[in-house]
């Protein structure tokens, strides 16, 4: 199928700023779904609120645009009632890890089969450039004009610690890897997390003097390295990309079905 078959053309041109990384994630995600040959009627995309969350409006899957931080909770309900559907949950960094942090850790802990995509631009884009839990120490934001003193989460370390069974990271610069990792995450049975470093040239880029969209992407190229590389040993500040965890653990909906069977036997 062509790209046009996966989108709601009536909402284009999309509303993101010129060069916003979220559009590149949209592009890569469509490619991933196309390459996997998934039927778009078997996909449910659930998003919260944020520039990132607008992605669900552009895709012609079953989609739900819900509440800020609560996408995983809605997605859990959908998956439990219709476990045969592929559930994709794109979230902003604020959406996933500030207001939605508790949903994130518990969905991962349960290992419910869905794909969480953290579109991490290190800022609250939609509401005007406030810092997020991913902005990082020493960065600038509209709410941190004298630099941010909050230390960031490492999304990958966090996801691993709370039990996600597939954990990966890529960037909007690494478009082929981004697509490949989304494919792997969708195929994995269990809770998958893909963190994608995305650029917000309008707020994060401007405040932190990282330049325009492609200059921010050049920076992603320079500051990342494949997981386990020699370069990381030389320079600890490099951010690793690739697959960090891929493991099997009993999946929540499958286990729940077993509970129903057990309960039926007792009655």
């Amino acid at each position: 199928m062509a790209i046009k078959d996966y989108i709601r053309e009536r909402f284009f041109p999309q509303m993101w700023c010129p060069g916003c990384g979220h559009g590149i994630i949209l592009n890569g995600l469509i490619k991933a779904v196309e390459e996997l040959g998934l039927n778009k009627n078997d996909i449910v995309m659930v998003s919260g609120i944020g520039c990132s969350a607008r992605i669900s409006g552009y895709l012609d899957f079953h989609t739900m645009h819900t509440l800020h931080g609560r996408a995983l909770a809605f997605a859990t309900g959908i998956k439990m009632s219709r476990p045969e559907l592929n559930v994709l949950v794109p979230m902003g960094d604020g959406d996933a890890l500030a207001i939605g942090g508790n949903h994130f850790i518990h969905a991962a802990r349960r290992n419910i089969d869905m794909t969480a995509i953290v579109m991490n631009n290190r800022v609250y884009g939609m509401t005007g450039g406030q810092y997020s839990p991913l902005s990082g120490y020493g960065t600038l934001a509209t709410t941190a004009p004298y630099t941010n003193i909050d230390h960031p989460f490492d999304v990958v370390d966090l996801a691993v610690a709370v039990g996600a069974t597939f954990v990966a990271r890529s960037t909007t610069y690494h478009i082929r890897q981004l697509t490949d990792l989304i494919k792997k995450a969708i195929t994995h049975k269990g809770f998958s997390v893909v963190e994608i470093l995305s650029q917000c040239p309008t707020y994060y880029g401007r405040k932190n003097k990282e330049g325009n969209a492609y200059e921010m992407m050049e920076l992603m190229k320079q500051t990342t390295t494949p997981v386990g590389s020699e370069a990381k040993k030389q320079n600890h500040d490099l951010i690793e990309t690739g697959v960090f965890v891929e493991t099997d653990k009993p999946e929540y909906c499958t286990e729940y079905d077993k509970i129903i069977e057990r309960a039926k036997k007792d009655n």
Partner: protein, 67 residues
């Protein structure tokens, strides 16, 4: 499989926002941003049909059509 050969760059000028990502990362310097802030294929003869511009466009505005 022989390498795909370019037929045309299909650029949707209504969707393109002139961000310059396609032009900046094109390995063959084929693309430019014109005075209306839209991407154009200035040197199509140099294109190797790698599709990197198409894959990275945030606005789904560029498509590489091959023969």
């Amino acid at each position: 499989m022989p390498k795909a050969k370019l037929k045309e760059h299909k650029i949707n000028r209504r969707w393109c926002k002139g961000c310059g990502i396609c032009a900046h990362f094109c390995p063959k310097n084929v693309l430019e941003i014109d005075k209306d802030e839209k991407a154009v294929a200035a040197r199509p003869e140099d294109c190797i049909a790698c599709r990197l511009c198409e894959l990275r466009c945030p606005d789904l505005a560029i498509e590489i059509i091959t023969e």
